[in-house]
């Protein structure tokens, strides 16, 4: 059977990413991301941090931080990180991470487990303070935090003061999108 007529769709089901603007904030669905989780093995924590640093080209992110350039990593928990990169160029991110980490860490492919929304513009904190319980005054450029949004476990990443990324489970994408847009309409 031919597979030539299959059409790629985004997590929300569209052929193009969903983009919605309310006031000065734009929420954009971002489908083109490759993800892998990296969890250091017992007794290998410092070696794992070094291997991760080599993979992303900058020191492994500390508690609640992100770092890296082409490949970026963000802190997910004690001795655990998520590595992200453009899907276009790093579809095999998990293989790449597995090779780089060797015996120091366990790597799991996460690309299709998560969905990402980027919030850009002015007044993002007003939206986030309706969505989550994070202390937004402590979030600055390069911060990463895990929290609950609308009862869904999510990551909130502060790229700059005018650009935040939210990662949530792909299976709950509709719920998460509804929560974000409702908060935007309410706050802005």
């Amino acid at each position: 059977m031919s597979v030539h007529d299959l059409v790629a769709i985004t997590a929300l089901g569209g052929s193009e990413p969903c983009v919605e603007t309310v006031g000065a904030v734009t929420c954009t669905e971002v489908p083109g991301v490759a993800l892998a989780s990296v969890a250091a093995r017992l007794g290998q924590e410092s070696k794992a941090a070094k291997a991760l640093a080599k993979l992303i080209g900058s020191p492994a992110p500390g508690i609640g931080r992100t770092s890296g350039e082409a490949l970026t990593a963000f802190w997910a928990g004690p001795e655990q990180w998520m590595v992200e990169a453009p899907f276009e160029t790093h579809e095999e991110i998990a293989d790449q991470a597995t090779t780089a980490m060797g015996e120091t860490a366990s790597v799991t492919e996460q690309t299709d487990a998560w969905t990402r929304f980027d919030l850009s513009g002015d007044g993002i904190p007003a939206v986030l303070e309706l969505l989550c319980q994070l202390d937004l005054r402590t979030l600055d450029e390069g911060s990463a935090a895990r929290c609950s949004i609308h009862h869904v476990g999510c990551f909130v990443l502060c790229r700059t003061s005018r650009l935040f990324s939210l990662y949530g489970p792909r299976a709950s994408v509709g719920t998460l999108h509804h929560a974000i847009i409702t908060a935007m309409r309410s706050a802005l």
Binding site: P78, D135, R146
Partner: protein, 95 residues
């Protein structure tokens, strides 16, 4: 109630799930002679103290770490919060 997470700072208690007495860390040796008795006690017998109590909390809506929280059951005052892995390792576990 606020739990002062050792890594992340103050977080609302609603982000956490409560498991129970921190003695659950001390799982008995299943190969010991008295394993049946030890597991009976481990599974069913708890102290029910008035005052200071050490308990396991899970940061479910956060970094997913397990904590040992020392809490006063009368006042809800939290006097100490530790990572459960540090407590377990100090008792010779996971080595």
């Amino acid at each position: 109630m606020i739990i002062n997470h050792p890594l992340l700072g103050p977080r609302d208690a609603s982000e956490f799930a409560y498991l129970g007495d921190a003695s659950l860390i001390d799982r008995p040796d299943w190969q010991a002679e008295n394993a049946a008795e030890a597991f009976y006690e481990y599974a069913y017998l708890r102290d029910n103290p008035v005052g200071e109590h050490r308990e396991l909390w899970f940061h479910e809506a956060g970094d997913r770490s397990w904590l040992v929280v020392t809490r006063n059951t009368m006042t809800h005052e939290i006097s100490k919060v530790e990572l459960a892995r540090d407590v377990a390792r100090a008792r010779g576990r996971s080595k």
